[in-house]
């Protein structure tokens, strides 16, 4: 009974957090709404990353490839035929003649992310440690390189622009879908097996768990969510360039995950919201903001402060703000049977 309750709280806490962020954001002016929308998209991307990195304990520098593919595909699919003929004249016919709604384009982006993750994952999931990190990074290098130049699949060297944008409620729904999928996965038998391999690969293997297969499942689910989150990203920004879905996003999203606490869903959500919140606040403060008194920071302090905060959190709390645990009810509310293992 208490276990069920714990699981419920572990899901309810991040969901509530996202609902509150969206509700507050929806009451603010359009500029602020963009900042809150940005935070919600970050949640979706970091949760996607968490499904693989958090549950398997293997670092991936390649997830932004799936975000990039999702973003470009979803963005291109929602452009009207005339716009495509205008800005994407050299593209393959299939892409040029198909126009879908945002929702359909997000589903297709998720499917594309899953297929890409499956193709990349079948060979790469045999690796672990640093070789895995470098190989996934190589996948990212190839993806951004090809998207940047091949004008048959996208805009080539120019930005993909004129993509219809969506409001904060759509972005919130997207973030919630990512959270629920991640939660269901980590509670599933497959998720539990993968977490066992994270704690002790040898023992897990000895108990009959096929490490590579479980990692591949997580990689594919995680790739699907990343493609989906990429679709959200492009429909939040309205335009995208390959620089926005490359090395920098890879590291900032990984840092959000590690700052929050790499091995818990609440950590992923909290890390994403805190770092993007701080980022938005500092961006405002560079323009001058009133927080009881007038605060104006010199231009350029934003990124320095973010870097310093990320470094400090990692130094002072190496296992992240949540310590890698899910949110749980305080002990006195949880009845007599208090001796429970770590949260799901």
């Amino acid at each position: 009974m208490t276990r069920r309750l714990d699981a419920l709280v572990a899901l309810a806490a991040p969901v509530a957090l996202v609902l509150v962020i969206a509700a507050v954001g929806s009451q603010l002016n359009p500029v602020r709404q963009l900042e809150f929308g940005d935070a919600l998209v970050s949640v979706a991307i970091v949760v996607a990353l968490y499904v693989f990195v958090g549950n398997s304990g293997v670092l991936s520098f390649g997830h932004i490839s799936f975000v990039a593919v999702g973003a470009y595909l979803s963005g291109i699919l929602t452009l009207g035929a005339e716009q495509k003929n205008l800005i994407l004249p050299t593209m393959f016919g299939v892409l040029r003649h198909t126009t879908t709604s945002t929702a359909v384009s997000l589903v297709i982006a998720a499917a594309a992310g899953a297929v890409f993750a499956l193709v990349a994952g079948i060979p790469l999931m045999r690796l672990s440690g640093l070789p895995a990190g470098i190989a996934t990074f190589a996948v990212l290098g190839i993806t951004t390189n090809i998207i940047s130049y091949w004008d048959k699949i996208g805009p080539g060297v120019t930005a993909l622009a004129l993509v219809p944008t969506n409001g904060i409620w759509t972005l919130m729904t997207g973030a919630l879908i990512a959270i629920v999928v991640a939660f269901l996965y980590q509670r599933s038998p497959s998720g539990r097996k993968l977490r066992a391999t994270r704690e002790d690969p040898q023992a897990a293997q000895a108990s009959g768990i096929q490490v590579h297969r479980q990692r591949l499942y997580a990689f594919v689910i995680s790739g699907a969510l990343a493609g989906f989150a990429g679709g959200l990203l492009v429909h939040e920004l309205g335009s995208i360039t390959t620089n926005q879905v490359s090395v920098e996003l890879t590291f900032t999203t990984l840092a959000m995950l590690v700052v929050g606490g790499v091995s818990s869903l609440s950590g992923a959500v909290l890390g994403a919201l805190l770092i993007s919140g701080l980022n938005s606040f500092l961006a405002d403060a560079e323009q001058g903001v009133n927080i009881g008194f007038q605060l104006t920071l010199p231009t350029g302090t934003r990124l320095v402060t973010i870097g310093a905060v990320m470094a400090l959190v990692l130094i002072l709390r190496p296992s992240g703000i949540t310590g890698g645990r899910e949110v749980r009810l305080p002990r006195r509310w949880r009845g007599a049977s208090g001796e429970l293992g770590p949260g799901a």
């Binding site: 990195v53 304990g57 670092l59 060979p123 790469l124 045999r126 690796l127 440690g129 640093l130 070789p131 990190g133 470098i134 190989a135 990074f137 190589a138 996948v139 290098g141 190839i142 390189n145 090809i146 940047s148 130049y149 090395v247 590291f251 990984l254 840092a255 590690v258 790499v262 010199p298 350029g300 302090t301 990124l303 320095v304 973010i306 870097g307 310093a308 990320m310 470094a311 990692l314 130094i315 002072l316 190496p318 296992s319």
Partner: protein, 295 residues
């Protein structure tokens, strides 16, 4: 002839990657930390050289070494010492955070337009051998790379410090139990890796004199790819991996038709993935590469 020209270009590029790779590999060997902020040491050296462009070359180079070694020690003391024993993922991300922080401090201090280094610009002149063009810097980089790596091998194999470094790399706990002072060894590893970074800064600013806040990033990424491809467990294989990346880039660049040259990174990364799949412990790692041989 283009084959020979590619070979020469590959050596010049590879020597730089090899030195960077050894700088990263040395610290990795001792404390299992992949220092992504290594590139910012190179950048710091570049800015020092740029600011002292008017000064005599030797003064600028000495200052460059002093600044870079000091920054390397500062990185260790402030950021990485408290993280000793944290999970590899946390350490790697922390080094990224340090890298990100330093890049933005450079951006704040020096702006995004970049500073130009003029210290050893004369080395860009080429000598012609038949139809081949060999720039002086290629020769200097190759010799400097060779001298640095030989010197380091000597230190590691013939001195007390080297013995302690190798012991710490083989088994840090046991080495401590036997009286190797952890802080001292790690400090030295960072100091040496700082000297290597300063050398790279001197060599690299001759070939590309415009120093921007992200100056050291791409060379660090390529060198890191190189050392993992070569085999991070030993310095020899790590440096060979650096050369391999240099050669691969030069040769593939030569082979691709001009319309496909923009896809050079894809081809090189594709090769990297194939190598890692076939030989995860490294291209040059022996058939029985053991965890004991790390430096």
């Amino acid at each position: 002839m283009t084959f020979l020209q590619s070979l020469i270009d590959g050596i010049g590029l590879g020597a730089v990657y090899a030195v960077v790779g050894v700088g990263i590999g040395l610290v990795f060997g001792v404390m299992r930390l992949v220092n992504f902020a290594y590139g910012e040491l190179i950048t710091a050296g570049g800015y020092t050289l740029a600011m002292l462009s008017g000064a005599p070359g030797i003064v600028a180079i000495i200052a460059c070494f002093a600044v870079v070694v000091a920054l390397a020690l500062l990185q260790e003391r402030v950021a990485f010492r408290p993280l000793r024993g944290a999970s590899p993922a946390t350490m790697l991300i922390a080094t990224f955070a340090v890298s990100f922080l330093l890049q933005n401090i450079y951006l704040l201090a020096f702006g995004s337009r970049g500073s130009t280094v003029g210290t050893l610009g004369g080395l860009n002149h080429a000598i012609a051998v038949g139809s081949l063009r060999i720039r002086w810097i290629t020769i200097v980089a190759t010799i400097a790379g060779g001298v640095l790596l030989t010197g380091l091998t000597f230190v590691l194999n013939r001195t007390m410090l080297g013995l302690q470094l190798r012991a710490a790399a083989a088994d840090f706990q046991t080495a401590r139990t036997l009286g190797v002072r952890a802080n001292r060894v790690i400090t030295w590893a960072f100091a040496i890796s700082g000297m290597l970074a300063a050398s790279v800064a001197v060599l690299l600013t001759v070939q590309s004199p415009l120093v921007t806040p992200d100056y050291g990033v791409s060379v660090t990424i390529f060198a890191l790819v190189g050392v993992v491809v070569g085999g991070l467990d030993r310095l020899l294989t790590a440096s060979l991996g650096g050369f391999a990346i240099g050669f691969a880039t030069a040769f593939v660049g030569d082979l691709l038709p001009s319309s496909g040259s923009v896809y050079l990174p894809s081809v090189v990364y594709g090769l990297v993935i194939i190598v890692l799949l076939l030989r995860p412990s490294g291209l040059f790692a022996g058939p029985r590469a053991t965890a004991a041989e790390r430096v």
